[in-house]
Symmetry: C2
Subunit: 317 residues, 2 copies
């Protein structure tokens, strides 16, 4: 059941039209692991500075997240990101990025981490992602996330990393940019030709899609009347997706589809409050409730077609 | 089983990156009725000029569409629209609009038309839509389409027309603009508060959604590797939706959901070739095939949740 995440642990300062926070526990590994913790045991590989206190540590502990491989640099400072969202909550405007200890991050995996069954390579430099991937050769499923910055600056290294993972998880624009192809269906075909068995495309308020070479699965987003803070939604999705898969014996298409729903459910909670605040205090009933809502809002009957049809028109001529 | 459509019959000149056509049979009533004709008998109320020849008439006839209420003005010219699409096929750039006989269109309904069970009020001036609606008081379901032009220029009249129909069918941007609300879920709530029992929102490549005051249903678009000419996709969707409903005895939520799929199937064919060319020569097997694909690409199992879950974290404190 073991699930490993490699990524950033950070402090975020976030400003939205609805309020602001100066210091939120954030970063891809944080959002991912808290989300996944509702489904399975998680280990996190990351790096933090001396400002990472017992209070932050306690958040991970409370969710049963193993932080043995979270490297501490007492004399350094934790990665800091500051951003602002306007009423169009789809776009984050970065105000400040201080990489701090994250600038020299070299993921160090303990033996236990190397034996993980599932691995999520959060959004870090692609060569580092590939180095980690080589250390988890026995993993049953390795997924990779990235961002436009790496697509633009280290495209070749990124493609090499994508070639050796099983699942790529990106957003709509990233998939099109990565494949240099505006049509998403064609973009997916191209990306899958590089090696991954599956491509997951996150589409924000329009939902998410799962592509394999043989199948296509698409779901809407959970309908929210208000998005409060979208920071970390993508990693929270990935956490629900990978966490659910880790709880399953068979990682087949059916399990992947259910995992897509769980990912979407977790992301829908994430955006309702600042940072990880909402996801930190979820109950299983709340998660289950939204899973059922997804079933209700996508269900339709297949009925004998003949009943619906009138005779076809006569051929022309 | 009778279905009535009131709208434009036009000639379109269309230019896309893939080719051009100088004179295509187009208009909302045309796209709608050819699409709906695969499911039910359709009557069309519209107006054409002397340039509307036996050749165009034959297209309607071949699909069993009743054109008795299609008014002819021999000395006038048929509505003409000319547009261009760039590689972003989502946006039509209008090059020329000649309303011609359509400028003075006053829908005239025969007794048979007035007795229609289902009515689609295509995109025309909202006061005209309301006048037609008053003439079909016995209809079981009346649906209305509109566009940004009417939202901007005759908003009050449009809202009055929406109040007296059962279903509003618009696209994503129109729904938000109409409700003056960027969040689609809230926009839908507001629009439904005016009177309609259902709101259908078309989202192009992201699919479509059906809102009622109690339920939400959302589907992806049929995955197409290439869109050739999107002209008329919305009316073709409406034709599949209303045509399927007309074939059903009970117009309940389950029927509406299946109708959404049929609408999406028909629209997916429409965009594959110029104008109505592809939809004119469909077979029932082709339509049924894509309906089944929709089922496959949206299906996931609901399984006992407990299996997926680990123990919840201890409460804070």
């Amino acid at each position: 059941m073991s699930l490993l995440v490699v990524g950033s642990v950070a402090f975020d300062a976030v400003e939205t039209p609805f309020g602001k926070r100066d210091k939120l526990l954030g970063g891809s590994a944080t959002h991912f692991s808290i989300s996944a913790s509702y489904f399975t045991d998680v280990r996190v590989v990351g790096i933090v500075g001396g400002d990472f206190s017992a209070e932050e540590e306690a958040v991970f502990k409370r969710h049963g997240v193993d932080t043995s491989d979270l490297e501490r640099i007492p004399e350094g400072k934790t990665f800091f990101w500051s951003g602002r969202y306007d009423y169009d909550l789809n776009t984050a405007h970065t105000l400040d990025t201080q990489l701090n200890v994250f600038a020299d991050f070299k993921p160090k995996l303990s033996d236990a981490s190397r034996r993980s069954r599932l691995v999520f390579l959060g959004n870090i430099q692609p060569d580092l992602q590939r180095e980690v991937r080589e250390q988890v050769r026995g993993a049953e499923l390795v997924a990779l996330d990235t961002m436009n910055y790496w697509i633009e600056s280290t495209r070749e290294a990124l493609v090499e990393a994508i070639k050796v993972v099983n699942v790529l998880i990106v957003n709509d624009a990233e998939a099109r940019q990565l494949a240099d192809e505006p049509n998403l269906i064609r973009a997916a075909r191209k990306i899958l030709s590089w090696g991954p068995k599956a491509l997951i495309v996150k589409r924000g308020e329009y939902g998410a899609a799962l592509f394999t070479s043989e199948t296509y699965f698409a779901i809407p987003a959970y309908p929210l009347e208000a998005v409060f803070d979208p920071t970390g939604a993508g990693d929270t999705f990935a956490g629900g997706f990978m966490g659910y898969l880790a709880s399953q014996e068979t990682l087949d298409e059916a399990a992947m589809r259910r995992a897509m729903i769980y990912g979407s459910v977790m992301a829908s909670f994430n955006v309702e409050e600042f940072g990880t605040e909402r996801v930190q205090r979820l109950t299983h009933d709340e998660i289950n409730g939204r899973f059922s809502t997804f079933k209700r809002m996508t269900h339709f009957d297949e009925i004998p077609f003949e009943r619906a049809m009138r005779a076809a028109p006569e051929p022309v001529g």
